[in-house]
């Protein structure tokens, strides 16, 4: 009887495996703080990230940006890890998702230093200080001015216009289950047509060829004709998207290439907060303070195309020139949103995607 | 007109010549035995006649018709295999009736005719049995009945009695002989046993001589 021979190949293989195991052992987190956010927050290379670097210089606290996916997924992960979170501070819950975040108890209440610079109407949304309003904006349907001009077509002016067959197949929206502008647009239609009428509207939108994608970046940077070179000339985006198109235009231009359908706008407020169970609560609070401070808020307009909540910040001129601020943006009572959001999303999913 | 004509058949496998210019003629009602040791190509010849193997050269004529290019199921050639090849998913009577079913005979008619054939081979009442419960001798008889039930032009038997024990062998040999003569079938039988050949067949040939 002969023992099976171990050959050299398997010994070498074992050595490689052991080395890799040792190398990969344990946690590799070098940053002091992790900022959990959604997929349209830049991870690097923008002035927003430079501001975070300045925070590190000032306080010695390293910040790592962790993209957790779209808003819906980010929240679900936070809910599932409540008390033992993936990061220390979360940026990007908006008013339509806020009640879910509070119900799931993912935040540790903290009233930021500098809160007095934030208007009362925003802080009123978080009476118990669970999170801090960091920016606001309007979610509106944007359209490609040139596309419509070329075809001699008047761009739509109301929600009703969007179901007009003349505009068939020209709109891309986001899935409200996963995307906060997507949810905001759905809420806008509920505001217009009521809790019993919005279904018919969406049925008509579906019949009119509306396209649904999962995230705003996908809709804006891949499907939209102007910003993404895609096939669809209208997209659910922000009232402050046109200024962005002017600022980043190459070659430079002095008029906005995209316009906004004011009737579709829904007011959105975004929040940031300390995650409950963070290992670095003091540092986290410092970061939240920084996020509402002027230094960081200054960069918001040109990077995230939202209005800073800090009233002391001056807006860049392109912003004031080209941003469309509707006189009377739509909104819904947070309590109503809280009560109905899941069933609305379910209904919408069955209606539009089913 | 001969019932079976094998004309100048050549068959080679992997370069080895198995059948070399083989010719054979049989008149209607003839029972011929083909003798030879195992591996001499006797079974191959049977399979060529049945159409299971294509010859490299030569032709097969059945009742004067050249069937060399014809597929097996059109040749009206019956074959009893050495290991019977009964259909295990069919009962005994369904096995016997199989050929009649293929010929389009109606259900009642074919079951009746099959029952008659089962009687002929001495298996009265075996109809409902499953094939796997049969003994060696019983299975052989069912195979025979199945083949003869369609009244083929030529019946081929591949070592039909090889492997059976002495008593069964002798009994079956006599029964086979009387069955074939009674049916008046042209039959080509392959075996290595000269005594068996003498009992069952009218004449014996050696493959090497053909």
């Amino acid at each position: 009887m002969r023992r099976p021979r171990t050959n050299r190949l398997s010994v070498a293989g074992a050595a490689i495996v052991v080395a890799a195991l040792v190398a990969s052992c344990g946690d590799d987190d070098a940053a002091d703080l992790t900022l959990v956010t959604y997929d349209s927050f830049p991870e690097a290379d923008t002035s927003l990230n430079d501001a975070l670097d300045r925070f590190t210089d000032e306080t010695g606290i390293d910040v790592r940006v962790l993209v957790a996916g779209d808003t819906g997924t980010m929240l679900s992960k936070a809910a599932l890890t409540a008390g033992n979170p993936e990061g220390d501070v979360m940026w990007g819950v908006d008013n339509s998702f806020l009640s879910r975040a509070i119900d799931d108890d993912i935040f540790e209440p903290y009233v930021a230093t500098g809160i007095e610079n934030i208007p009362d109407e925003l802080t009123a949304l978080v009476p118990n200080g669970e999170a801090t309003p960091v920016d606001f904006g309007d979610v509106c349907v944007n359209y490609d001015i040139g596309w419509f001009a070329e075809r001699g077509l008047e761009p739509p002016e109301t929600l009703d216009d969007l179901v007009d067959p003349a505009y068939a197949g020209t709109l891309v929206v986001q899935n409200p289950a996963t995307s906060s502008p997507g949810l905001a647009f759905l809420l806008a239609t509920i505001d217009e047509y009521g809790t019993d009428g919005w279904q018919a509207y969406w049925q008509a939108l579906g019949d009119n060829g509306v396209e649904v994608v999962e995230s705003w970046t996908q809709a804006y940077y891949e499907r939209f004709t102007w910003a993404g070179g895609g096939p669809t000339p209208m997209v659910v985006s922000y009232g402050s998207s046109p200024p962005a198109e002017v600022i980043f235009a190459e070659p430079a231009r002095d008029d906005a290439p995209t316009g906004v359908v004011a009737d579709t706008c829904f007011r959105q407020v975004e929040f940031a907060g300390v995650l409950r169970g963070t290992q670095a609560p003091d540092e986290a609070r410092q970061l939240v303070d920084f996020l509402v401070g002027a230094e960081f808020q200054n960069e918001l307009a040109l990077n995230l195309f939202v209005y800073p909540s800090n009233t002391t910040v001056e807006l860049p001129p392109e912003f004031t020139d080209f941003a469309v601020v509707p006189d009377d943006p739509r909104s819904l009572d947070p309590a109503v949103i809280d009560e109905n959001r899941s069933s609305w999303i379910d209904e919408w999913t069955e209606l539009v995607l089913g | 007109m001969s019932a079976l004509d094998v004309v100048d058949v050549d068959v080679a496998f992997d370069g080895v010549r198995v059948l070399d210019h083989v010719s054979l003629s049989m008149a209607s009602g003839d029972i011929t035995a083909l003798l030879g040791p195992s591996g001499s190509g006797k079974s191959t010849l049977l399979r060529v006649v049945a159409g299971i193997i294509r010859p490299d050269r030569g032709s097969i004529l059945i009742d004067g018709t050249d069937v060399t290019a014809m597929p097996t199921h059109q040749r009206r050639v019956g074959m009893v295999f050495q290991d019977n090849q009964l259909f295990p998913h069919r009962s005994v009577i369904e096995n016997v009736a199989f050929g009649l079913k293929m010929a389009g005979v109606g259900r009642t008619s074919r079951l009746e005719r099959s029952a008659v054939w089962l009687d002929h081979v001495g298996l009265h009442g075996f109809g409902a049995r499953t094939v796997t419960e049969l003994s060696g001798g019983e299975a052989k008889r069912v195979a025979l009945a199945r083949t003869l039930a369609v009244e083929p032009a030529v019946v081929l038997l591949d070592e039909p009695l090889t492997g059976l024990d002495r008593d069964l062998h002798d009994r079956l040999a006599a029964e086979l002989a009387s069955l074939l003569r009674a049916a008046g079938t042209t039959a080509l039988l392959v075996t290595h046993d000269a005594d068996e050949a003498a009992t069952v067949a009218d004449r014996s040939l050696r493959l090497a001589d053909l």
């Binding site: 495996v17 890799a20 923008t46 289950a177 499907r223 | 159409g51 597929p71 090849q85």
Partner: protein, 537 residues
């Protein structure tokens, strides 16, 4: 075999049993308790969408099964009956395709189909068919090989044309294998997750996808749990039905010897065989070829930029797609190494215990097979909702994903090793005993050495499973810790951008790595027979 002391057997069995209980039974119990709230049940079962999803899942699985069987019958027959150049390669190709990760197959189907068919049910069924062709060809082919060619010849002599031979003789006799293959394909297509996520349009949901969506996007854990139980019930019904069907049709056929295969003879036969083999080759390899080709196709024309820019998934300066391909590759490899380590250790201990324990070992054996019967999505979901309370707050632990993978891989390790262990000649151990070795010593000297070769092969299999695992990982992976399949799915969703080309490139990498691992495993396994004295004389 001289009995090993009970304590040793128990010691061997305790780790696998504990692992199974903690990481599978407990999470499963959590799902059940989560699902048993009246509100969740009521809400889920009364929602119209639930039944639409059940209906869709069922009919697409049924359609996939029927098409796979129909497409696979001809190749199965040809592979069983004939010898032809390239036969080995074809069988190998089919098997290689079968072990590919689901997201890779999804990517390949997306790549090969014209855009109009992308994301349609046609694409989903096509992916299932290509994937499962191997199951039909191997299972049905194996039984067909046992069908004596002479039986089909006998039917021909009785006047049956080629078609009637098939319907009257071959088909009834291969029916047990057909039922078995159909069951496997149905189960696979019913619980399909990776394929649906990659190939399906945004709203396409099977039960598995809906479980995932409810749990990870909507935060509706109760609803997800109810759906899990519903799916298990439906699967149980399907398996029960198939088992009764198989029992009814199985019969002692007495088929023992394999019929020798032959080369196709005659011009017509050669042409038909060539057409079938050629067609099968094309159906199976075209998607893979398309995958590689599409990785070079960018919105601006043909280029290698998807490959060279693989690490850079920028949409706009600073904006990434939220997943880093290189990071994903590293994560996948480290996870696979750990998962393999876990699976092999647990599997080895379990195999030894089962081999030594005799009758009682069957419980452990059956228990370890349970994770295979429930889907990976169920496993991942269970672990997600169970390990959230200290001192069992393991959700953020780096080792949870590898453990999840190991759970799915252990049954394969056990099957591979147990077979070899059991085939060791008991006389060897007896001989050692007569030479004075105690039962433990004898066993250690004569049985344990034969563990290593199959374990090495099983390690390869476990690695391949881990690399391609998508279902459980979709629940458990932390942000920043995504594996290759997750990255591929994200990238492939960006239709019409360079990111999609990067998705194809990454899928090609994953396919290549999987094939290499499996090929190495195969080479190891071909020398697995233990050479006892019986073989040597």
């Amino acid at each position: 075999m001289n009995r090993l002391p009970r304590s040793l057997v128990a010691a061997l069995a305790v780790v696998p049993a504990a692992a199974l209980t903690v990481f599978f039974v407990w999470p499963f119990a959590t799902i059940v308790s989560e699902a048993l709230t009246g509100a969740a049940i009521r809400e889920t079962l009364t929602r119209r969408g639930t039944w639409e999803i059940v209906w869709f899942t069922s009919w697409q699985a049924l359609l996939s099964t029927v098409v796979t069987i129909v497409v696979g019958l001809a190749p199965a027959a040809v592979v069983a009956r004939f010898d032809f150049p390239g036969r080995g390669a074809l069988v190998g190709l089919l098997t290689a395709v079968f072990v590919l990760p689901t997201v890779v197959m999804g990517a390949a189907i997306l790549a090969v189909l014209p855009d109009a068919l992308d994301r349609t049910v046609f694409a989903i069924v096509a992916a299932h068919v290509v994937f499962n062709l191997a199951v039909v060809v191997r299972l049905v082919g194996a039984l067909w090989e046992l069908l004596p060619a002479d039986m089909e010849a006998a039917a021909a002599t009785l006047g049956a044309s080629r078609w009637r031979v098939f319907t009257e003789v071959s088909l009834p006799l291969i029916r047990p294998a057909l039922t078995a293959a159909a069951t496997v394909v149905f189960l696979f297509s019913f619980t399909s997750f990776g394929v649906i996520r990659v190939v399906g349009a945004t709203g396409t949901r099977t039960i598995e996808v809906e479980i995932w969506r409810r749990a990870t996007q909507l935060g509706d854990l109760g609803g997800a749990a109810v759906l899990t139980m519903l799916q298990l019930a439906l699967l149980g019904l399907a398996v029960a039905w198939s088992t009764t069907l198989q029992r009814r049709h199985s019969r002692a056929l007495g088929l023992r010897l394999r019929s020798p295969r032959r080369s196709p003879s005659g011009r017509r036969e050669r042409r038909v065989v060539a057409a079938i083999i050629g067609g099968t080759f094309v159906v199976v390899s075209a998607p893979l070829a398309a995958l590689v080709i599409r990785s070079f196709s960018t919105p601006t024309g043909w280029s290698t930029s998807a490959w060279t820019d693989l690490g850079r998934s920028e949409i706009r300066p600073g904006l990434r797609v939220g997943v880093d391909p290189w990071n994903a590759i590293v994560n996948s490899l480290t996870t696979a190494i750990w998962a393999t380590a876990f699976a092999v250790s647990i599997g080895a201990l379990a195999s030894l215990a089962i081999a030594a324990a005799g009758q009682a070992g069957r419980f452990l054996d059956a228990g370890l097979m349970l994770p295979l019967g429930t889907s990976a999505v169920t496993i991942g979901f269970g672990m997600l909702i169970t390990f959230d309370v200290p001192p069992f707050d393991w959700r953020a632990s780096w080792w949870l994903v590898p453990v999840g993978h190991a759970l799915v891989a252990v049954p394969f390790v056990v099957r591979t090793t147990l077979g070899v262990l059991r085939s060791v000649d008991p006389d060897l151990t007896a001989a050692a005993a007569t030479l004075g070795a105690s039962p433990v010593r004898a066993w250690h000297e004569t049985v344990v050495p034969y563990l290593w070769r199959p374990l090495a092969a099983a390690a390869g299999l476990a690695a391949a499973i881990s690399l391609g695992e998508f279902g459980a990982t979709s629940f458990l992976s932390r942000s920043g810790g995504e594996t290759m399949p997750i990255a591929i799915e994200r990238l492939l969703g960006r239709t019409g951008s360079i990111l999609q080309a990067q998705g194809y490139a990454l899928a090609t990498v994953l396919a290549a790595v999987t094939v290499v691992v499996v090929a190495l495993t195969d080479r190891l396994q071909s020398g697995v027979r233990p050479s006892g004295s019986r073989d040597r004389t």
